[in-house]
């Protein structure tokens, strides 16, 4: 059965690596980074246009660039990278052969073809309908076709992942249960299947409508099902980047989960409840009852949010426990102060954790509150929120793990180490700025997806407050900073992958270091004596910020016109 499979043993981690899986991880990661570069460039153009003093692009190119930006980074970059994560978390972490590599290649080709088709169609200029393509806005058929092909390719990737789990179990490549990171990746893959099914249900009829075979698509129906794909696909990201947080904590510190049971239950909450987030987009639409809205927008009484809040403690907690067991025990924060802040994988991962929680997480829950959505819906607050989750959270985490993938999977020494050390900070601070300033502008009412906040050519005059213009200027500057960070990432990664020194067989790269032996935390029986005061303090700060910000927004809501 597995006779033809070739393996090598990783000299740094001791993991057994299937060469076919390795190659697939490489191509998916390379495709991901290419689309990150393209989509990021479009993003910069968008931000420079929304900077009132710069106002770079003409209106038609702005709407085109915004459509391409959303597609290339929110969908293409992230899903390609997630395929790499799935193959890594299954074949590599379980020391198994990858099931059906040919299917995985077919999936990859479909995804690539789909992504290229959609990009070409968007660049032709007749499909500037935004990423969401709300009917009855109509794009060219190729727009939908490309996305469908891409999604089918991704679906194949998910099934290769599931099949690999089965193969590994049957061939007994590991003892006991699958690792937590693999469990998290499985969560992502399960959500992905639901997501892609929803996408197919709505995009196939929409394609037929665009071709003229279907007369009419109801806009509410479209939006509800489209977001069962659109929002759930962001939950794939959450499951994937939380898995990466655990992976980097393990690979950097040898950290063990505080409790396998708790962390796995938290992932299970994602599987059970995250999919109903479509409601977040339907809170101010006609045709829904408040009961429906409240239950769904809260992920069934915030049980999925509970999952994220648990990871928010267990990830830094496991790092703290590992550091303390190594003697970094002074005071509350020696473990954090003496963490390897010059290691870009750790720095990126930790910033991803903090920004995802404080910026993306809190704002998401607040904005998803049924009534509060009234003062935020479709303002720049919305992209402010999801740049906090998807860019500062997911993209930063994916960048961080890439610093480990280059030496360990691509087998190249990392080049430009000084640049790499700075990169997570430049990108992270830039993205945090983008998120916060867009949220600020949104609070002042500024519309998202809008070419001209000065309304220069409108028949009726209207002015946003001057503070909103300041916010958009700061947003533009933050975007430039983030773009510099993005370019640094591409330079380091592409440079290393193509020109970095090739590692000899069995040669250990100089970076990353071998993870220390797993510290003796959370062993059976020792759980009662677990001490993580630093993490407890961080979680307390988070919780206070969350509660205050939540009620401040109810206060804002109470000041608008009474309506019922």
């Amino acid at each position: 059965m597995s006779n033809n499979t070739e393996f090598r043993t990783c000299p740094t981690t001791g993991l057994k690596v299937d060469l076919a899986a390795e190659k697939l991880i490489k191509v998916n990661a390379v495709a991901a980074v290419v689309f990150l570069a393209i989509g990021g460039l479009f993003g910069l153009l968008v931000a420079l246009t929304r900077w009132p003093e710069v106002h770079l692009l003409p209106a038609d190119f702005f709407y085109l660039a915004l459509t391409a930006h959303g597609l290339d980074v929110l969908l293409v970059w992230i899903i390609f990278f997630e395929m790499a994560v799935l193959y890594f978390a299954s074949a590599v972490l379980l020391g198994s052969r990858l099931a059906a590599p040919k299917f995985a290649w077919a999936g990859f080709v479909l995804m690539l073809v789909g992504a290229v088709i959609t990009n070409i169609v968007v660049l032709q200029g007749k499909s500037s309908v935004m990423f969401t393509s709300y009917v009855p806005l109509k794009a060219e058929p190729g727009f939908y076709l490309g996305i469908i092909l891409f999604a089918v390719g991704a679906l194949i990737g998910c099934f290769v992942f599931f099949a690999t789990l089965v193969v590994a179990r049957q061939e007994r490549t590991y003892q006991g249960s699958i690792p937590l990171v693999t469990f998290g990746a499985m969560t992502a893959a399960i959500i992905a299947v639901f997501t892609i099914a929803s996408g197919a249900i709505i995009l196939i009829p929409t394609l037929l409508w665009s071709l003229g075979y279907v007369a009419n698509i109801d806009p509410i129906l479209y939006k509800t099902i489209w977001w069962a794909m659109g929002h759930s696909s962001q939950q794939i990201n959450v499951a994937a980047h939380v898995s990466i947080w655990y992976a980097i904590a393990a690979m950097t510190f040898g950290a063990k989960p505080l409790s396998e049971k708790v962390s796995r239950m938290a992932f299970l909450m994602y599987i059970l409840f995250l999919q109903i987030a479509s409601a977040h987009h339907m809170l101010v639409e006609p045709g829904f009852s408040s009961e429906w809205k409240i239950f769904n927008t809260s992920y069934a009484m915030y049980l999925a949010v509970l999952g994220s809040m648990v990871h928010g403690m267990t990830v830094p907690g496991s790092i703290e426990a590992a550091q303390r067991s190594r003697g970094l025990n002074k005071g509350m924060f020696e473990w954090l102060r003496k963490a390897p802040w010059g290691n870009p994988a750790f720095a990126g991962m930790f910033m991803s954790l903090v920004f995802f929680g404080f910026i993306g997480g809190i704002s998401g829950v607040v904005m998803g509150t049924e009534q509060i959505n009234l003062i935020m819906h479709n303002t720049l607050y919305v992209p402010g929120h999801f740049h906090g989750t998807v860019v500062a959270g997911t993209t930063l985490a994916f960048m961080a793990i890439t610093y480990y993938l280059v030496p360990l999977i691509f087998r190249r020494e990392l080049m430009f180490m000084k640049l790499a050390k700075l990169q997570p900070y430049v990108f992270g601070i830039g993205v945090a700025g983008i998120s916060v300033f867009m949220m600020g502008a949104g609070t002042l009412g500024v519309s998202r997806r809008h070419w001209d906040m000065q309304f220069a050519d409108a028949v009726l005059p209207f002015d946003y407050p001057s503070a909103a213009f300041l916010m958009m200027g700061l947003n533009g500057m933050s975007a430039v900073l983030a773009a510099v960070g993005g370019i640094m990432f591409v330079v380091v990664v592409v440079g290393s992958v193509f020109f970095g020194r090739k590692l000899e067989k069995d040669e250990k790269p100089s970076y990353p270091e071998v993870p220390p032996q797993s510290a003796a935390v959370a062993q059976h029986g020792s759980a009662e004596s677990l001490k993580i005061p630093g993490t407890t303090m961080l979680v307390a700060i988070f919780f206070i910020a969350f509660v205050l910000y939540y009620f401040v927004n109810w206060k804002y809501l109470s000041e608008i016109w009474p309506l019922s």
Binding site: E260, V305, V310, G525
Partner: protein, 177 residues
């Protein structure tokens, strides 16, 4: 480690640390508070959507709007009729490529039943500077009761992308004493 199988094979029987358990309880309770806060606001708060909505043909909605314009127009402004309907009335606002039609003039502290719909694609009703944002769909009449509580001039921006003239789509509501 998180990248290796759990060291305890029977990991589901390990005890949970007190600190983790406490956080789970706090976070769960907070979730319940946030959940019931939305329900509480339906009773105690003044800002809720009624969820009253009807399916309607776009032409029919345009007719309703026109009937209101014919009956209550008080002046013209930049080619827009300014309509001053009686307090308590049903009032209609149409979102269309690329304006909000017509301009409404309302009285402070009076209630109105505002009907919102579109005659072409989706639009976003974004009333500024109060920052009230509601999605507007073609074929659906969304109704809610508003009570403007401050006099002044309000802008209506379109905050759902609707086409190449999206950024030109501005409307107006006056609230008078």
């Amino acid at each position: 480690m998180a990248i290796t199988p759990p060291s305890e094979r029977i990991w589901w029987k390990e005890p949970i640390a007190k600190i983790e358990l406490s956080w789970i309880i706090i976070a769960f309770t907070w979730g319940l508070i946030m959940f019931f806060m939305m329900i509480y606001w339906h009773g105690a708060g003044e800002q809720n959507l009624s969820n009253e909505a009807y399916k309607i043909k776009p032409e029919r909605f345009a007719e309703h709007t026109q009937e209101m314009i014919d009956a209550y127009t008080v002046r013209n402004e930049s080619g827009f009729p300014v309509v001053h309907p009686p307090a308590g009335d049903d009032i209609y606002l149409t979102g269309r490529l690329y304006n909000w039609w017509p301009i409404l003039e309302l009285e402070k502290d009076q209630t109105y039943r505002l009907h919102l719909s579109s005659t072409d694609v989706q639009h976003g009703f974004s009333l500024q500077p109060v920052n009230i944002n509601v999605q507007v769909h073609p074929g659906y009449d969304l109704v809610f009761t508003i009570k403007p509580d401050r006099a002044g001039e309000y802008g209506i921006v379109c905050n759902e992308f609707c086409g190449i003239g999206h950024h030109l789509m501005v409307g107006k509501i006056y609230v008078v004493e």
